[in-house]
């Protein structure tokens, strides 16, 4: 007997047999198989015996052994559903606290889910309005240069467009676009800025933009034609008809050949107007390199329409061949073109020179992932509380079963209950959603341009699906548990239903919830600290009280003269660009007979620039003032440049007077600056140089003002601006504000994660509260007896609360190191200059959560500990 027990037939096979076999004959069959198995173990060994057993189980699957499907009267099903609704409603009303916790948790978390659904649906329905949306492709470019990172661009070259349309077979239509169309339009005394694209006449054969007037087929054919959107046309011409009229955009006159209906908001192409591409071909500009060069890939866009049923792969093959031929003309550089489906444009990995607003696919994934985690936390609450209340409902289930309920009817009952809770939560979460929607869109101007989050029947359907799925996830586990309950056991002795059977699972769920909560809040505090440190980061120069004015093409000297008379203005300098905001301007530098130039960042400034910004000179001197006619000859470099180019063996003092070749011009080093941050803090300090070019008409004025009355100062500057330029509104910003804006994305990220942290904590706290209430209630008698035997209130609180505290400690022990590692290795490793992660920001979040949890645990346990033992025990 003992020996035999050592070998058992595979359990899963036995289960399989029980699953398919008719209950009347299963016992007999199983017995036979067992007997054979025992025999085979003796004669053929355990392994063969098991194999034979499995084969026999499979062979027994015959028509006459198969279970007959049970026929339950569908009418009864319907009647029972009514009963399920009634019981669900009663349970909810009876347990107000638990219902509240469940509904509130689910509602709050689902509102985030709704937001994500609306967001993703919006993005996915981008460009749906094009009739040929499935056949439109865009040519994208990847630019491989020797020794540099590959750059992926949404733009391409004019030549690529021309070559593909003439020599690649299988393209029905192709349109070329260019992105620098636009300029000021003066209407009466007002000024309207029009932004748009150059597009050729095939544009309307590919895209579906309905016209109000004009013939789309010929609208973009002739040079100097322009197509306006309805809004733009109304702005320029008012109620008068625009067709055929002349309009001056920037410096050129155009004839309006068509007016379009306003663009749908879900279009990745955005424009106020389209200029005809033939104008470009006449002008032959070289703004991004020679107009017809294979390497001029920065400003043009090519969209293709493939014939019905044509696979993009076959066209791609032709394009690759073309690329190979053209690349032969390039040295150390390869340009590859590929086809990107129109529908893949709105959500994608990052491409440079995007034509319109798009969303990075990683952002979508991260946000959806976080929303999912929050919803899951709320589901955990539901599971936890339902399972914990198993004792109270086991009698109900027992009676149901004895009266004749099948397992799956009990299952259905509890799932339906969960679905009802989820649907009820959906109502509240929808209210929250309408509120969150505006807040979310207001987070950044980019989001405002990108999505509207408007409701549509499809989105409402998705919402309901989300609620049902959430309900199912939350309800399926408790439902399975209840449906397995043995009726007799449940009724005979309720306490035999082991109340704390799933206690480990419940603990694990609480720990998981708190791990997420703690991770979220710690990420928020750590991120916030980093963000703040970026703002006050010592850039190596002074940005305090400096106002940068965008000149918008006005004469820098004239405005500087006007500003000199404003009393608060201390000093004014000029520069081509404003550094430390993320934009960069690179150039090629050679030193002493070097063959190939190395990259360095540059800025063109005047002689006042260093003093306005408080740059520290380590050697040499500042630029000296020159008249406008003089060519540039001097350069000031930073320490890094001296080191990297090994100028005068890296000696800063001796570097002064050395000669550099910057973009083929010989310049003399007159000074060496202390290193300063040219880029944002994610970049390491690179070789940087400042050039004084007197004849330059700089892009910005840097105005150093006195601290004090900001409004009066700005008013003074504004008045000066108005004297120079009556049309354009002034664009003057404090340098510090601009820096804050450059790090705006971090602020948004922190807000989003912080908000999710808040939600996760609320949900986890609600769940913990529910569990504490439940546990203490079930232990009232124990507490009373302890008290009678002489336990003090303090020791009772500790006895009741200890296990929860341990859970929280475990959760922090998991969450804190994980968050720390994540920040150290993933997030912050991208930043060259950052603050070390301190203990304080790691622990503040945990501290808050702990205090909150302790208050909850403490208040509840104390309530129970204070109960008079006589009251609870006398009813026994």
């Amino acid at each position: 007997m003992k020996q035999k027990q050592a070998h058992k037939p595979p359990r899963w096979a036995t289960r399989l047999l029980a699953l398919y076999c008719r209950p009347e004959i299963v016992e007999d069959l199983e017995g036979d198989l067992n007997e054979y198995f025992a025999r085979n173990v003796q004669s053929k060994g355990a392994r063969r015996a098991r194999l034979i057993y499995i084969i026999d189980v499979l062979k027994f699957c015959r028509l006459y052994t198969l279970r007959r499907p049970r026929h339950i009267n569908p009418l009864i099903q319907w009647i029972m559903i009514g009963s399920y609704f009634k019981t669900a409603q009663r349970t909810m009303v009876r347990n107000k606290l638990f219902s509240f916790i469940n509904i509130a948790g689910l509602a709050v978390s689902m509102s985030v889910g709704l937001l994500m659904i609306a967001f993703v649906t919006d993005l996915r329905s981008y460009d749906d309005f094009h009739r040929n949306k499935d056949r439109i492709y865009r040519l994208t470019t990847s630019d491989h240069r020797e020794g540099q990172k590959t750059m992926s661009l949404a733009s391409t070259s004019v030549l690529a467009g021309k070559e593909v349309s003439s020599s690649v077979t299988g393209v029905e239509s192709l349109t070329l676009m260019r992105n620098d169309f636009g300029g000021d339009v003066i209407v009466d005394d007002d000024l309207i800025t029009v932004r748009g694209l150059w597009a050729d006449q095939k544009f309307f054969s590919i895209f579906t933009f309905p016209t109000v007037e004009g013939n789309p087929a010929t609208a973009l054919k002739d040079p100097y034609s322009v197509v306006l959107t309805e809004t733009t046309a109304r702005k320029i011409f008012g109620q008068r008809t625009a067709l055929g009229k002349s309009v001056r955009v920037g410096k050129d006159d155009y004839i309006v050949t068509a007016v379009l209906k306003d663009l749908p908001s879900q279009s990745h192409l955005r424009f106020d107007a389209l200029g005809s591409f033939s104008t470009m071909e006449m002008k032959h500009p070289n703004t991004d390199g020679e107009f017809m060069d294979w390497g001029s890939i920065y400003m043009n866009y090519v969209y293709l329409l493939l014939p019905e049923g044509r696979s993009p792969e076959s066209v791609q093959a032709g394009i690759s061949k073309l690329c190979a031929a053209e690349n032969a003309t390039l040295k150390d550089r390869k340009i590859e073109l590929s086809l990107q489906p129109l529908k893949a444009i709105a959500i994608n990995t990052h491409l440079e020179n995007e034509v319109g607003p798009v969303m990075h696919i990683a952002v979508v994934w991260i946000l959806s992932g976080l929303a999912f985690v929050v919803i899951l936390c709320a589901c955990f609450n539901y599971m936890n509380l339902s399972v914990a209340r198993a004792l109270r409902r086991s009698r109900e289930v027992g009676i149901r079963k004895i009266v004749g309920a099948y397992k799956r009817q009990v299952l259905a009952q509890f799932v339906i209950e969960a679905l009802l809770v989820a649907l009820l939560a959906l109502v509240f979460s929808f209210l929250l959603f309408t509120f969150l929607r505006t807040k979310f869109i207001e987070l950044s101007p980019q989001l405002q341009r990108l999505v509207s989050l408007q409701l549509s029947p499809r989105i409402v359907l998705y919402f309901i699906v989300l609620a049902l799925v959430t309900g199912l996830i939350a309800g399926i586990f408790p439902a399975l548990l209840f449906s397995r309950l043995q009726a007799v056991q449940a009724l005979k002795d309720a306490s035999s239903v082991r109340l704390f059977r799933h206690v480990n699972l419940r603990k694990a769920l609480i720990v998981v919830q708190y791990v997420f909560s703690i991770a979220f809040i710690t990420a928020t505090t750590v991120g916030y600290k980093q963000y703040k440190s970026f703002l006050v980061f010592d850039l190596g120069f002074n940005t305090e009280n400096v106002i940068n004015i965008n000149l918008k093409g006005n004469n820098a000297k004239l405005l500087a003269n006007e500003l000199a008379s404003v009393p608060a203005v201390v000093d004014v300098s000029r520069s081509v660009m404003v550094t430390s905001l993320g934009s960069k301007f690179g150039t090629s530098v050679k030193y002493k007979g070097q063959q190939d130039g190395q990259d360095a960042f540059m800025n063109v400034v005047d002689d006042r620039y260093l003093s306005v910004h408080g740059h520290a000179l380590l050697a040499g001197s500042n630029f000296t003032w020159r008249p406008d006619s003089v060519e540039e000859s001097e350069v000031i470099v930073n320490e890094q440049l001296v080191k990297q180019f090994n100028i005068a063996e890296g000696d800063i003092q001796k570097a002064v007077g050395e000669e550099l070749v910057v973009a083929d011009k010989k310049l003399t080093i007159v000074g060496v600056l202390k290193d300063f941050h040219y880029g944002t803090v994610d970049d390491a300090i690179k070789p940087t140089l400042l050039i004084y070019r007197p004849r330059e008409n700089y892009g910005h004025l840097n105005v150093k003002v006195m601290a004090g009355d900001v409004t009066a100062t700005m008013a003074g500057i504004e008045a000066a601006w108005k004297k120079i330029d009556k049309l354009h509104p002034m664009d003057a910003r404090f340098y510090n504000d601009q820096i804050e804006e450059a790090y705006n994305q971090f602020q948004i990220m922190i807000k989003v994660i912080g908000f999710l942290a808040f939600l996760a904590i609320c949900i986890a706290s609600l769940g913990l509260f529910g569990m504490v209430v439940f546990t203490t209630e079930t232990r009232v008698r124990e507490v009373s007896i302890r008290k009678v035997l002489g336990a003090s209130e303090g020791s009772l609180v500790i006895a009741l609360g200890r296990s929860f505290i341990v859970l929280l400690l475990v959760a922090s022990a998991i969450a804190l190191p994980a968050t720390w590692l994540f920040f150290e290795n993933v997030v912050l490793s991208r930043f060259a200059y950052r603050q070390p992660i301190g203990w304080s920001e790691m622990l503040t979040g945990v501290g808050c959560i702990m205090v909150l949890a302790l208050v909850m645990i403490g208040s509840q346990t104390l309530r129970v500990a204070r109960v008079n033992p006589a009251d609870t025990l006398k009813s026994e």
């Binding site: 007997m1 007999d28 199983e30 027994f60 006459y64 052994t65």
Partner: protein, 110 residues
């Protein structure tokens, strides 16, 4: 219904049940069949036949007492019904009739 005709294997199973008297359950039937006929009687086949015979009303079955062998599973014992008894008697009669009219020389030289 296919009628009350019994096939060859069915007949053998019926005979085995009759021979085993009170100990006719699936595994024993298999063993006895193998022993008597010398061919390998597969459990699955025997089961199917027993099921069919029961449907035809030739045998009836009831579960025995639980024992510690067979993993505590009860055996299903089979006994012949009157129709079953009649069927094997009829089958034997048919054979006997044939035997009585087969001349001796036909089988000579085996």
């Amino acid at each position: 219904m296919k009628g009350t005709n019994v096939g060859e294997f069915e007949e053998l199973v019926l005979l085995t049940i009759a021979a085993l008297v009170a100990d006719a359950y699936s595994v024993a039937i298999c063993d006895e069949l193998s022993k008597q006929t010398g061919r390998d009687a597969k459990l699955g086949v025997v089961h199917a036949v027993l099921n069919r015979l029961e449907e035809k009303g030739l045998v009836k079955s009831k579960l025995g007492e639980a024992t510690s062998v067979r993993g505590g599973k009860r055996k299903r014992y089979y006994t012949l019904t009157n129709a079953g008894k009649l069927a094997i008697v009829k089958a034997k009669e048919v054979r006997d009739q044939f035997w009585s009219i087969i001349p001796d020389f036909v089988l000579k030289g085996i």
